[in-house]
Amino acid sequence: MLTKEDGTQFEAYELGLLVKETREDYKGEADHHEYFHFYIMGDFFTEDIKSHQPILNWTLIDLEIEQTDILNIQGADPYSDEIKEKQRKYLI
């Protein structure tokens, strides 16, 4: 449950999670970055905006978060044992 600015609560639905890999500066296994894209949908609009949007009155948020941020480790080797342990714990 999330809360809007006017205090009303609503439910949010996660439609999917995709992983984006960037390898533009690829030199080795540790030289690419992974980004998590969360697609979250819900009734984020307030009532005055929804009165002008009769059909498409929900919004979907594309949240882009880097893997090192979501695992709360900054500047670490993504192939280290510590990261792999957290991946197994949180993501699998």
């Binding site: 995709l18 980004y35 929900w58 919004t59 979907l60 948020i61 978060i65 695992l71």
Partner: protein, 140 residues
């Protein structure tokens, strides 16, 4: 899961709430999502298991290029498919930065892969003008 330190970007897109509200208990199984290689476009497929008069197989395309300005939300492109068909996300190893979907026809057991091309992003006046469906690349 720990709270992430920073969210790189978050963008709002308009969606139809019917894809969740009309199938309150099956929306996790009905909805699938895919993105192109650069993640500036994404596609949502809604394949309802129980089709009613308000529920149809739907394909949504939305992305950053559908936004005209920072404070304006544009309508997504979507198509509705007949009840005897269902959709699946597709991929192509040659054209990587485009969206594909495969149309399966239950009655004739045919399948058709369709490429969704979104060109002329800057001239974004109407969504239907920016997207053209190319039916020429039928795989089988």
């Amino acid at each position: 899961m720990p709270t992430p330190n920073k969210v790189l970007s978050h963008v709002h897109y308009l969606v139809d709430p019917c894809i969740v509200t009309l199938s309150k208990f099956n929306w996790e199984n009905n909805i699938s999502i895919a993105a192109n290689r650069l993640f500036d476009q994404f596609a949502i497929i809604d394949n309802p298991h129980i089709l009613g008069p308000k529920q149809m197989v739907t394909y949504y395309v939305n992305g950053i290029h559908f936004k005209k300005q920072e404070d304006q939300l544009n309508h997504p492109y979507y198509i509705k498919i007949n009840h005897d068909c269902f959709l699946q996300h597709g991929r192509n190893s040659y054209v990587k930065n485009e969206l594909f979907y495969t149309l399966f026809k239950r009655a004739t057991n045919e399948r058709q892969t369709i490429l969704v091309k979104t060109t002329d992003y800057d001239a974004c006046k109407c969504v239907s003008q920016n997207i053209r469906l190319d039916n020429s690349n039928i795989l089988s």
